[in-house]
Structures are given as C-alpha cells and as structure tokens.
Symmetry: C2
Subunit: 395 residues, 2 copies
C-alpha cells in the first residue's frame, strides 16, 4: 500500500533506531540503571548553562512576533553573520552571511545540499565506515551511494581505492570528520590528497565534484589534534554543521550549511539550497534556536566528560582483550567483533543488557559501534558485562 | 551546475517569498510604517502568554538532557497522547498516541505523508486555488499535481470537475480547510460529497486514494461555522496540522500528522511516515516546542484581532468597488483583480507600497491574495492606497 521506496525502508528499518527504542523498553523492564544503552548519539551532558540563560533572556527582551516568526528561508541575517564571524575567527576563513544557511540540524542541511546537486543516477561516494543515513539521503534524490571499502587497520580513507572509484558520474563525496563510527580524525595530509585527486578528476571529466563535509563532531576532539577546515583545501565544498553534539541540543534540530564563495556557480547554488530548504518542507531552521545558538558560538560541551568515558571504556576493553582504535574525536568507539558475524556479538551483548550497533549498519561488518555519550556510571557499570563477554569468546 | 529539478525551481522562485523579501527591503527604504505588506502568512499577533510561561517553566523543571534530546522519531509519547486527547475532546474522535506523529510544521508533515504514499507518476489532485507549494511537495516524490479548476463564484470545490479528474493513477487529494487563499470553509456537505466520490472511485479502480487535509487554519474561524473533521467522513485520510497560525509560532516549525486507525494498512503507513520523518532529514519535531505545544492545546490566537482586520478591509474594499468573497476563516482575502492580468495590478499596488500576491501563484489567475495577519494600523493606513487604485481602474 505504501510507496515502493518506503516499502524497502520499512522492511529494513534503522537498526540504530530500533536499538534505541529497545533500550527504552529494557530500561522500563529492568530499571534504567541496569541497562547499558550505547546505541544512539544522544548526549548525556546537559546543554551549557548559557543556552538556558539565553532562552530566558530572549523571551524577556525580544518581540515574540519576531522571535517565533518567519524569516528568510536561509535564516535570520544577523544569526548568519555571527556564524560567519565565528568561523572566520577560528579558522581564518572569510565567510559572510551570504555563505551561511541555517538548517534543521545537519540532516536537514545535507538533504538540502543533495537536493541542490544530485540528478537521478549521479553517484555519491563515501568512505566506509560511514553514517548509514547517507545512503537514504542520497536515495531521496535518486542518486546512488557508492562506498569506498575501509582500511580497517587505521580507518583513514583508502586513497587508492577512492581514486579508482571516482567516475564521470561522481557528483559528490560525503565525508564525516571526526568520523562516526570510528572516532578517527582525517588528517590534513589526507584532506590534501583527497582534494588533489578530485581536482585532477574534475579536469579529466570536465565535471564539478563536491565534497560535502558532515561535521557535527568538529568540536569534540580529545587529542588537541586539528580538524582541517575543508573549504581551505578545495573549492567545491559544502560544510554541514549541527549544534546537536557541541551544545547537547540534538532534539532541537539546529545547524547550518556553509557554501563558500569559491564553489562553482556559488550564488545560484546558494539560491538552490535555500529553495530546497523551503520546498522540502523545512521552510527554515527553528527560529528561537537560531537566536540561541548565535549567542552560544563560543560555548562547548564538556569534552572532559566524554574523555573520562572514553578512557575508562577503552582501557578496560583493551585489558579484557577487545581490539579497537583509540578514538581521537566524536564519542564513538568502533570495536572489532570477537566473532565474524558481529550481529551475533550484538545479540550476546544484549543478554548482558549492553546495547551496541552492528558495524554492518555503517557498511563495515565485523565491528560494532559503542556510543559513549552516556553517564560515567553507565560506562563503569557495564564493565563486568564486557568482561564476561570477553571470557565467553576466549579473548 | 545545480540539479535539473532545482534549476527549474530557482528560475521560478516563489513569488510569495520574493514579495516577502521585497517588503523587508521596502520597509528599510521607506520606513515600515509606510509599507503595507500583505504578502506572507506571518502572524502579527504575539504567541499566547502561556507559550512564554511554559517555556520558562520547562527550563526550570525539566532535565535539559531530556528536554533538548532525541526521542523516538514520531515524537515524545506523552506529547502525542495529549494531542490525541485534545482532538478527541474537541471532535469526538478516538485517537491515541499511535495515531499522532509530531512534525516539523505542516510542511514537514505533508512531505512525510507524500513520501510514504507517492510512487513516481502518481497523480495528486488539489482544488484551485491552492497553496502553490503543494505542487513542489508532490514533485519531490515525482508525483504529478493535477488541479481541479476553481468555481470562482463560491470558491467551493467543483465536484463534477473533481469526479472527472479522478483516474486509476490518482493517489491522493490535498485539501486545505479553511482555505488559503480564498478564506472559504469547505462545508460538511462538500466533504461528504468528496468522500462519496472517492469511495466509489476506490471501488471502481481497486485503489486506495487518500485525502490529505492541510489544516493550519482550523482554529481561525470567524463565523462560528464548523470545520468538519475529515477522519469522521472518510477512512483513508491523513490530517496535517501546524501550530504556526493558532499559536503564532510559524518560525518554530511545529505541527503534527494524524493517521487514523481506519486508514488502509494503518500500522505500516504510520511506520512509513515515521521513517520518512527520519530519512528526509527532519529526524523529529523540535523537542522543546513539542513539550510547549502539549501544554497549550487549549490556547488560541486572538481571533478578534484578525476579525477586526478582515472587517475594516472587506468593508472598505467593497465600498471602493473591489470584488471579493467575505472570508469565513484563515486570514486571507482573495480579491478579483480589476484587470485581467493580476500581475499588472500587483505592480500598480506596489507603487502604493501595498504588497499583494498574484493569484497565478495559487493556480487562479485574475485574483490577488491579501494576507491580513498584520497590524490593524497597517490595514487602516493602506486604505487610501486601495482607494486610489480603485479610482485608477475606474471601479
């Protein structure tokens, strides 16, 4: 009865989301303190105090008609200018309000970007492991997501495989830096190499190939490592950002797109994403939250909270014999499954009330994703379960 | 450079939105008190006081992690239950939380519904005049919007023309009640007749044909007239609602879909709209606003404010010789253009600093839409300009 496209999606509903709902069901059955739900990137750190203060102040000082009203589809001009200024200060860029569109989260922004770029049959590349929704976003516009197989030693992109995957049909590459689910940061060297390859391929095919950089985890970096700002390395870029993780506002759906002036046909492209925002039904990013984030651009989530979780989990899991890359950013660990079929491991872990997501959901079977944006207690209390799992699998 | 679909949209950008941006430009040039911007449905009535009070209370009382966090894609279960209860109390329906999905405004909801229903080539009917974005929403899923020509005497649907327009390819009918731009309310008799026709056509073609009822103006009714609740008259219905107009929150993007249990394959359809919400990039309706509207379901915009505007404008315009149906609901007047090409009239009106939208944007040339959700002063101060226009056209 439902449309053919949705038929497939209903039959293969998001494992991550199912796990999230299962986690809530288990929390009701067993008590939330006895369920270790590492399934979803739903931050457990409260939003910075300034978020609450700013909402309260705006409600007092601003005209409610303007505060809750329509604005241009691209967002409030003053908010867009403040975002541009903040980026310029931090990354030495030269953006203005004309380069920024406020969006309904990064997911909304990515959909606007793809709607603006993709014709049916166009190919979009992504490096496995990648956030599984990219495939659905690309399919919304009848594009085809082609994955570049992972280098499971380093989880840095396999550049040789990437170069071979670019064809005359390639329209875009989606990257996610820092990476969900691996926690890896793509280095400046990697970014330069990707830009080189794409510049050569654009010349070869006479095409415009975009890098769409999905960056909700940009500020979540543990090592002091730099996350290169992509627009400085390649002209045809679109950056998607979300405040979900940095300000712990995932439910509020607030983010932005950056369309640099160096991108091909910049003005028309910006018009296209703005109109896409309207016709896809977003219309505009939520108005109050636009004004809130504009005042909180210097705020950061408490990275120490996540670092503590990472350290206790990483050290214990390594100690128990699990194999895993030490995350440099984001709040995910990508653990090698002790059995080839990682879904079996996920099922076993669930018996310990530990909820993990199979790597096949990220085009990378044989691994599982652990999302550690949970309370420290959840991390610590899950350890005996992990220990029993390690023993069960003879690690 | 941009995608072919967006190419067409950029070339024919929304006249309404262009007018809105033009209005802001003119307000800067001439002073906002000297520009009579009737272009956009952006309410000038502040949100009810309870909206502000509720936000302040939620910030004080609720855990910020829950208040701003992810929930199931369909929305907070308690919010959905409260919406269902409120509808049941007001309309004698029997909905539960399982019939309600919270959405990013009505526009987001309609897109989820269409994504769930439409296969490429499917036909979606709508009665002209209709909100022009419907055509874009349907095209997002490669459906084709077919309009049923208007009865410009009454602006009630032409049922004979409608019956002839339904084919084996018809997948849905989008109605908007009260109607934007005509201000007309479709009567219970009309709704029954539409349901009869569709039931016969479903039997004839062995198909499921949905009525998608877009109802942001449901509470904005002047005459005490009832707006029939569509699910009581026809099984295959989806109702889209927005709090934009009732609570004056258009920028916040908050609404809901109702999928009644009587709809064909209800459970799977509900799953489909929920997953559409996720994969289209909405993910969920903004979380804080979900909690806010759940506490404000009995609140209403000050209808007296709009009634006063309607009366002063309608009486004066009739007096000057303009021809127009007296609006029963919403906050629009649909005025017959004094010249055949209503775009010429719109241009002339702009010289008087009066901003109107051409009826061709609603598939109904020869008329203009006036949106009177503005201040009373704007209405009154625009009258000399309308008078001069009437004289110019010899009305």
């Amino acid at each position: 009865m439902i449309s053919k496209k949705m038929d497939g999606l209903v039959n293969n509903n998001s494992v991550i989301r199912q796990m999230f709902e299962e986690g809530k069901r288990m929390a009701e059955e067993f008590g939330s303190e006895n369920v270790y739900d590492f399934s979803l990137g739903n931050p457990n750190v409260p939003a910075p105090a300034k978020v609450k203060e700013t909402i309260e102040r705006l409600l007092k000082e601003e005209d409610p008609v303007a505060l809750h009203g329509y604005m241009a589809n691209a967002g409030f001009p003053d908010v867009r200018a403040k975002v541009a200024d903040s980026l310029n200060k931090r990354f030495g860029t030269a953006f203005t309000a004309d380069n920024i569109m406020m969006t309904v989260g990064a997911a909304g922004g990515l959909n606007c970007a793809l709607k603006a770029l993709i014709n049916p049959g166009d190919e979009v590349l992504s490096f496995a492991p990648y956030f599984v929704e990219y495939r659905n976003y690309v399919a919304n516009y009848d594009g085809v997501l082609k994955e570049v197989a992972p280098d499971t030693e380093t989880f840095q992109p396999d550049l040789k495989a990437f170069e071979e995957a670019v064809t005359s049909k390639t329209r875009a590459l989606i990257i996610n830096n820092p990476n969900n689910p691996s926690g890896v940061i793509y280095t400046e060297e990697t970014i330069r190499a990707i830009a080189d390859i794409l510049n050569r391929k654009q010349a070869e095919y006479g095409s415009e190939i975009f890098i769409i950089s999905d960056e909700p985890y940009r500020e979540l970096v543990y090592t002091g490592a730099e996350v290169p700002y992509i627009t400085k390395y390649y002209d045809n870029t679109i950056v998607g950002y979300s405040f979900s993780k940095t300000l712990s506002l995932p439910g509020e759906r607030i983010g932005y797109l950056v369309i640099p002036s160096e991108a091909a046909d910049h003005e028309r492209l910006f018009q296209a994403v703005t109109i896409a925002n309207r016709v896809l039904g977003f219309v505009n990013a939520p108005s109050l939250m636009q004004k809130v984030v504009a005042e909180c651009l210097e705020e950061k989530a408490d990275i120490g909270f996540y670092a503590k979780n990472r350290d206790v989990l990483y050290d214990a899991l390594k100690d128990y014999g699990f194999s895993c890359i030490r995350p440099e950013g984001a709040f995910y660990m990508f653990i090698k499954s002790p059995v080839a079929d990682e879904k079996e491991f996920v099922t076993e872990a669930k018996k310990e009330h530990i909820l993990l997501v199979p790597g096949s959901s990220f085009a990378c079977a044989g691994f599982v994703r652990l999302s550690y944006c949970v309370s420290y207690e959840t991390c610590v209390n899950s350890l005996p379960g992990f220990k029993r799992l390690a023993e069960k699998y003879g690690l």
